[in-house]
């Protein structure tokens, strides 16, 4: 691999400013950028439903009230968007996927992969084990406030150890599948798994 060309006159913020918590190719932001492929859907808590399906078979459903009655979990995590911004110490509250499985009477995921389905038609795929052991939740509160619709409210999937497109906004259903089914961005040139520490941004990385 040849050396990258030096960009004459570029200094940048320098290596000293880099945090060990920021994956390769990322930079820190203080604000919270919004990226979505389509319009933000209106919030409708009265008709909101979260479902777990095994393939085409429904396993469990929760209304908003039932979902809010489940045991809640707090997570403070760093998040990494494939468009190169990272944000440290973001605070979330929601229901862990472990809790959802338990509430559905499941001791383990019925299939090894998950396809998350969202209001507006967005989908994303994640291996089921990446959602377990406290690694992921359905989040409805961000930084102490109800999650804003632009950021996925009323509730989004949160899988902070993968690039943030996996943390699907406006999530409605987790469908357990085998084999893995590529989601929206995964069908549109992005990496099937998306580990920021291995810089798995695009298909082929």
């Amino acid at each position: 691999m040849s050396e990258p060309p030096i960009s004459r006159g570029f200094q940048g913020r320098g290596n000293a400013a880099r945090s060990a918590r920021v994956p390769p190719g990322q930079h820190l932001v203080e604000d919270f950028p919004v990226l979505s492929a389509g319009p933000t859907p209106p919030v409708d808590l009265a008709n909101w439903q979260l479902s777990l399906d095994d393939g085409e078979t429904p396993l469990a459903q929760w209304s908003w009230a039932q979902f809010m009655a489940l045991p809640q979990t707090d997570l403070t995590v760093d998040i990494h968007c494939v468009t190169t911004w990272s944000k440290l110490d973001t605070r979330w509250r929601g229901v862990s996927i472990d809790t959802l499985l338990e509430a559905a009477g499941l001791s383990e995921p019925p299939q090894p992969y998950v396809l998350a389905h969202c209001d507006g038609g967005y989908t994303t795929n994640v291996p089921a084990e990446d959602l377990l052991d406290g690694k992921a939740m359905i989040a409805w509160e961000y930084d102490g406030d109800a999650l804003h619709p632009e950021h996925g409210g009323p509730a989004r999937l949160l899988v902070p150890h993968l690039y943030f497109w996996k943390s699907a906004k406006w999530v409605q259903k987790l469908q357990f599948v085998d084999p893995e089914i590529p989601g929206f961005w995964e069908e549109n040139g992005y990496h099937i798994y998306g580990d920021p520490w291995r810089e798995q941004r695009y298909d082929g990385d």
Binding site: P4, P5, I6, S7, R8, G9, F10, Q11, G12, R13, G14, N15, G25, Q26, H27, V29, D31, F32, P33, V34, L35, S36, A37, G38, P39, T40, T83, T84, G120, G121, H148, E150, H151, P182, F184, W185, E186, E187, N188, G189, I192, R201, Y202, D203, G204, D205
Partner: protein
């Protein structure tokens, strides 16, 4: 020679790794006080589809690197692309690309990226574009491609651009847009200015609203393909309003940039 990547998505997991390519600045154009276009020579660039973007990586003499994504402004072509970059406050990479950079300077890029916010001349139906500020950039790639290829494919589909800028001086590609929208092109461009108008301005001077989208846009019964790009609040408002006006969600594609303001 022009090579256009009009292939659909490759099955995930089968694509080769996108390599970093060296880009050399061939030409710098000052578009507005804060915006510059860079015409780049990129040997090995495979071509792209209008609306796609690239990752840019700068390397400092001490080895420090910084990486960002930028929309491609040019119509698809092999071995060259044009980026149009707005200098952001405290923008580590944009202050270099829209300020320091000179002809002959080099950096790396990788792409094309994104298979969703794209338009190709084969797509049927009118094109309805809504831009805010530098959100015009990927839409300009669409208009340039439409002008370059559209005629070859028979009758040009109608196209409309509603473009919101702060002031007259902030309008990017002003002269070229005027040229692209000439008689017989099927393209109409509607400007609106949100922070002051020059003397004699007879155009629109307010934020994009429902009345503007209804009067200046392409109506829902013509099923236009809609591309919206700009700051998040503009995109949110426009997308929501277009749905209210009866446009199909399936035909609305959005690209947002910038902070949320919260």
């Amino acid at each position: 020679m022009t090579v256009t990547d009009t292939r659909g998505p490759i099955a995930p997991g089968l694509a080769p790794k996108k390599r970093w390519l060296t880009a050399t600045v061939r030409e710098v154009t000052i578009e507005t006080p804060r915006v510059r276009s860079l015409v780049l020579d990129v040997p090995g660039w495979p071509g792209h589809r209008a609306g796609q973007h690239v990752d840019v990586r700068l390397t400092a003499p001490d080895g420090y690197q910084a990486q960002r994504s930028y929309s491609i402004a040019s119509a698809p072509a092999a071995n060259t692309i044009t980026l149009t970059v707005e200098m952001l406050p405290d923008g580590e990479v944009s202050s270099y690309l829209a300020g320091e950079v000179q002809v002959g300077d080099k950096f790396e890029l990788r792409g094309p990226i994104g298979g969703y916010f794209v338009w190709t001349p084969e797509l049927e139906g009118p094109v309805f574009l809504v831009a805010g500020g530098s959100g015009i950039v990927p839409l300009m790639a669409i208009l340039r491609e439409r002008a370059a290829k559209g005629a070859l494919l028979g009758a040009m589909q109608p196209a409309r651009l509603i473009y919101s800028s702060r002031t007259y001086e902030d309008i990017i590609y002003r002269a070229e847009l005027e040229q692209l929208a000439g008689p017989g092109t099927g393209l109409a461009v509607v400007h609106t200015l949100t922070r002051g108008t020059p003397a004699g301005w007879t155009g629109l001077a307010r934020r994009i609203d429902a009345m503007m989208l209804a009067e200046a846009g392409i109506p829902p019964d013509q099923m236009p393909r809609i591309f919206i790009c700009g700051p998040t609040p503009l995109v949110e408002t426009v997308a929501f309003t277009l749905r209210e006006l009866g446009h199909s969600l399936k035909l609305i594609k959005t690209e947002r940039f910038g902070p949320t303001g919260k």
